[in-house]
């Protein structure tokens, strides 16, 4: 669900939800990220220790956060499998966070329970970054999406963004539309009936006078789009296996579908992808999803820097 976006000048101490950052703070992070891309080795936090605590599997998020911390000169402690920790003995989140915050100057946390990061930030005396709390929020992904959009389009304002796939459960989709709502976008939401954008998000956009349309047909919005944001249609969301089989092929993008696309159009995907982007798209000039993942390091360097300062 949607909280109102922060608009005051209060400086965020944690990054739990994308709405914790005002528009100015988002732009500040993107500007810093561009600086880190030009010069990625800036060991300005040699005296800092960053805890990376992942109670759930992750490839890109954990590795890019740890790379970001290392490039900033910080030392990284933590775990990527809660099975090796006192959590298996029944330790509460509260006790784990209290203990980790004794050791580290900043905590990056992923946890399957929704709201766990907000809770951790209330307990912890040091800043907390939410690296994903169940299907709730994943704000660093949103910031790197924004950085990728700005970098490829030269701007964030007045873009046509076609978001495709699982618009019902996809946390990156919800955070992205909230963050982009600062920049007067036009959205096209492409999804099967079962995975349409929930009404509460449509209401959120209507209140902000943001234009959007919905379609079930992937071919509908490729020509107008500046950004084609693909997401994975997850099998476990379907009660009907046959329906999943039908839908998964409908939302599969291949190179021949890109013929009429605008030259500036870029395809983004939070990854991992399965069927939704065919391998023949990878060599297209429109494909940007691997660069997008690379941008994660610069964006996360910027987030860490912002919270330390």
């Amino acid at each position: 669900m949607i909280k109102s976006t922060k608009s005051n000048k209060y400086m965020s101490r944690n990054l739990i939800s994308i709405q914790d950052f005002s528009k100015e703070e988002i732009l500040e992070v993107l500007k810093m990220a561009a600086g880190f891309e030009k010069n990625p080795s800036q060991p300005i936090f040699r005296d800092k220790v960053v805890a990376s605590i992942f109670f759930e599997p992750s490839t890109r998020t954990r590795l890019s956060f740890e790379t970001a911390a290392n490039r900033l000169g910080a030392r990284v402690i933590g775990f990527s499998d809660a099975g090796n920790t006192s959590v298996t003995k029944g330790e509460t989140i509260k006790d784990t966070i209290k203990m980790v915050s004794n050791y580290a100057d900043l905590i990056i946390m992923r946890h399957p329970l929704e709201g766990s990061a907000r809770y951790a930030s209330e307990i912890s005396p040091v800043p907390v970054i939410n690296a994903g709390d169940g299907s709730n929020q994943h704000p660093s992904q949103t910031l790197l999406d924004l950085y990728s959009i700005q970098k490829t389009q030269g701007k964030l304002d007045n873009l046509f963004i076609n978001i495709v796939g699982d618009l019902k459960y996809g946390r990156t989709v919800h955070s992205l539309l909230q963050a982009m709502s600062h920049f007067n976008p036009t959205f096209l939401f492409t999804a099967p009936e079962e995975l349409k954008l929930p009404n509460e998000y449509k209401e959120y956009l209507r209140k902000r006078n943001i234009r959007f349309e919905e379609t079930r047909n992937l071919a509908d919005g490729i020509c107008q789009a500046d950004i084609l944001y693909m997401t994975r249609v997850q099998q476990e969301r379907f009660t009907d296996a046959i329906e999943y089989e039908r839908v998964k092929n409908v939302y599969s993008l291949n190179n021949s579908m890109l013929e009429g696309a605008k030259s500036n159009m870029k395809i983004l995907h939070p990854l991992p992808r399965v069927n939704e982007i065919a391998l023949d798209v990878d060599n297209s000039d429109h494909a940007y999803y691997f660069d997008q993942a690379k941008n994660g390091v610069y964006t996360r360097m910027a987030i860490i820097t912002k919270l330390f300062s």
Binding site: M1, I2, K3, S17, T92, I93, K94, H111, P112, L113, E114, G115, S116, R118, Y119, D133, G134, S135, N136, Q137, E200
Partner: protein, 154 residues
């Protein structure tokens, strides 16, 4: 015809009237009445022109702060609160829905952290539509009226 009170009058205390009959025990839970030593009388499934069936609770020598009593607005917004002094109604109070709700209600999201860790729930109330909804401070999901479960306040 002589009128008899189905639930006898109290000398001093608080009367909660016009509670929907099916919400009586939730109101008792929310106000923690099962754990207090004051005399309490209640009636339920009484005829009501407005509610069909209503419940009433009379608590002797007990008065509630607004914050405390307003919590029942979640489930019984039309309840009437009368403060009784010496068998007379000394004050009538109107319930208003609080802007935030701490404890009392369980988050309906099964994977919300509050359902797995010893954390007090916290909600923001949303009343901009006709229906009352609660926005969880932690998981950011909505708990609506149909799924509102009260955590016992003993």
């Amino acid at each position: 015809m002589e009128k008899h009170l189905k639930v006898s009058a109290i000398k001093n205390g608080t009367v909660l009237d016009h509670i929907p009959a099916e919400q009586l025990f939730k109101v008792i839970d929310i106000l923690g009445l099962s754990g207090i030593s004051n005399q309490i009388t209640f009636g339920t499934n009484l005829d009501s022109k407005f509610l069909g069936k209503k419940a009433i609770i009379k608590i002797s020598d007990r008065y509630f702060e607004s914050d405390e009593i307003n919590r029942i607005a979640l489930i019984a917004p039309q309840a009437k609160i009368n403060i009784i002094h010496n068998f007379e109604v000394a004050e009538k109070r109107i319930l208003s829905i609080p802007s935030s709700i701490k404890g009392i209600v369980k988050c309906m999201n099964p994977v919300c952290v509050t359902n797995h860790q010893p954390i007090e729930t916290l909600f923001t109330t949303i009343t901009d539509e006709s229906e009352l909804k609660l926005l969880c401070h932690y998981c950011e999901k909505i708990t609506d009226k149909e799924n509102l479960k009260i955590i016992s306040n003993k």
